[in-house]
Symmetry: C2
C-alpha cells in the first residue's frame, strides 16, 4: 500500500500558508477561536464572517455542547472528554467545514490528542478520518516527547499539522510538556520544532492574582518572549486570555491567541440577555405599578 | 405486551403542570426558547439559569448546528431536516436534560413530526426513545388532521404531550393545519383540542409589511384572539416574534411565545462582537496613527 508523502507535505504547507496569511492580515497577531465558535456550525460561520481565520473544535468543548454526562465546565470535562467518539469529532469538523468553506484553518482536539490518563488508542484510520473530514491540523496537549513524536509522525503521514503546547511542572491540569524556567521554555520549543511540530504554544492560564486589571504576570511575559524568540514556526498563547488582558498578550509578540472560555462566556451572557426580552415582562410591569 | 396507560397519562399531566406553572410564574405569558438555546447544552443551561422554563430542540435547527449539507438557513434546512436521525435528536435531548435538570419542559421537533413531503416513518420505538431521552412532548407541524391524530395517539401512548400548530392556506412554507379566517382558526383549534392536542399554536410569521415598528398586523391579532378564546389548553404563537414586537404579541393574551431566530441572531452578533476584541487590533492601531 502506498501513502503518498509529497502530497501530504503539500497539504501541510497549504495549511501553514493559511495560518501565516491570517497572522499577516491581522497585523502580526490573529485569533484561534475555540469553544462554541469552534464546534457549532451556526457560530463558526458567524465568526468567520467577522474575519476569524482559525478555528478549533475540540473534544472537551464538544462534551459540554452535548451535555455529555451532565458536565458543564472544561475542568469537569477533563475526566470524560475521551468518551467523545472520534467519529463525532469528524462529523463536527465536516459540518463546520461545510458552512465556512475551504479557506479557514481548522485544527482539532481529538480524544487521545490531549494528555488522557486513561488508555485511548489512535489508529491510522483515525488520522485519515480527521484529514478527510476537513481538518487542517490537530490541536494537541501531549505532555512528553515520546507521545508527541508518535503523534507528529502519524499526523504528518496524513497531511495534518500539529500544534503542541508547553506547560509548567506545577500545573494542576496537564496541558503540555513541562518547562519550569524561560530557558527551559526555549529549550522545549526548539526541540518541538526539531521533531516537526508545526506551531508551538504556551499555556498561559496560570494564576493572575496580584496582577493589575488588563495586565499579565511578568513571568508569563518572560515565558512568551522565550518561546517567540526561540522558534521560527507560528507561536500561540492559550489560557486565561480575555478582553481586558488581550492588549498585554498582544504586546508579547505571540502570533496567535487561543480563546475559548472568554468568548463562550460572552455568548452565554448574550443568550441570557436575549431571552430576558421575552419573559417576566408582565411581572415587571405589574411590579412597577 | 402491556403498555401502562395510567402512568403515561400521569406523565403528560406532570408535563402540562410544568407549562402552566411557567405561564403563571411569568405573569401570564412565557417563552418557549428554541434554536441554539434549545439544542446546545451550554446555552440551554445558560437560559434556564436566566429563568427560561420551556425549551425546544428541533431537527431543522440541529441541521444548522451540525452544518448538515452546508445549510445555513431554516428555509434551506426544510429540504434536508428529515435526514437528521432520530437517535441524534434523542442524544441532544438527553444532553440538554443532563445539564438543566428535571424541571424545565422540553418539547422536541423530530423528523416526521413536521410536514415532510418525503416518506418518513415513525415507529413505536421512536416515540419510546424520545420519551426515555427526557422529552416531555413533541413539537409538531403536521398539516392535516389524519396525520395529526395518528401522531397524537402514539405520542400519548408513550406519555408525550403534543403541541400542534395552525397555519394559513396561502403559507409558502407549510407548518400547520390551514385556517383562512379567524372563525376557521377557532374551528381548527377546537377540533385539535378534541383529538387531544395538549397545546395549540398559531403560525404568525406572515408578512409584516406595512406595519409600524413594534406592531403586528391586525389580522394576526384577530387570529390569535380567535385561538386564545376558543380553547382551554395553553396557546402558542410561533414565527416572526422579536424584541420589538414582543409587547404587541403579549397583549394578545397568547400564553407562550416561541422564539428561535431572533435569539439566534442576537447570539450570533454577540459571538461576532466577542471575537472582534481579539483580532484586527494592530491593524486598527496602525490605521489610527
Amino acid at each position: 500500500m502506498i501513502m503518498f508523502k509529497g502530497d501530504m507535505i503539500k497539504k501541510r504547507e497549504q495549511a501553514i500558508v493559511k495560518v501565516w496569511s491570517a497572522i499577516e492580515e491581522h497585523g502580526g497577531q490573529t485569533l484561534l477561536s475555540t469553544g462554541i465558535t469552534g464546534d457549532d456550525a451556526r457560530l463558526a460561520k458567524a465568526v468567520v464572517e467577522s474575519g476569524v481565520k482559525l478555528l478549533e473544535p475540540n473534544h472537551p468543548a464538544l462534551a459540554l455542547a452535548r451535555g455529555h454526562k451532565g458536565v458543564t465546565t472544561m475542568h469537569d470535562a477533563e475526566n470524560i472528554r475521551h468518551e467523545i467518539d472520534i467519529h463525532e469529532m469528524a462529523k463536527v469538523v465536516r459540518g463546520v467545514r461545510n458552512t465556512i468553506g475551504r479557506d479557514p484553518y481548522i485544527t482539532v482536539g481529538i480524544p487521545g490528542g490531549f494528555t488522557e490518563v486513561i488508555p485511548v488508542e489512535l489508529t491510522d484510520k483515525d488520522f485519515m478520518l480527521m484529514s478527510h473530514s476537513g481538518a487542517d491540523g490537530l490541536h494537541t496537549h501531549k505532555s512528553n516527547f515520546e507521545d508527541l513524536e508518535e503523534l507528529v509522525e502519524k499526523a504528518h503521514k496524513y497531511g495534518l499539522t500539529v500544534d503542541a503546547y508547553i506547560g509548567h511542572p506545577d500545573d494542576l491540569h496537564t496541558f503540555g510538556i513541562p518547562a519550569r524556567t524561560p530557558e527551559e521554555v526555549a529549550q522545549v520549543a526548539k526541540r518541538m520544532e526539531e521533531i516537526g511540530v508545526d506551531m508551538i504554544g504556551l499555556m498561559t492560564g496560570m494564576s493572575y492574582e496580584g496582577v493589575g486589571a488588563g495586565e499579565i504576570p511578568s513571568i508569563i511575559k518572560e515565558r512568551l518572549h522565550a518561546l517567540v524568540s526561540s522558534v521560527k514556526v507560528p507561536t500561540l498563547a492559550e489560557g486565561g486570555i480575555n478582553i481586558e488582558n488581550s492588549k498585554a498578550f498582544r504586546e508579547t509578540g505571540v502570533h496567535i491567541l487561543v480563546v475559548g472560555t472568554a468568548i463562550d462566556d460572552m455568548v452565554k451572557t448574550a443568550a441570557q440577555e436575549a431571552v430576558s426580552h421575552f419573559i417576566n415582562q408582565k411581572t415587571k410591569e405589574a411590579l412597577s405599578k
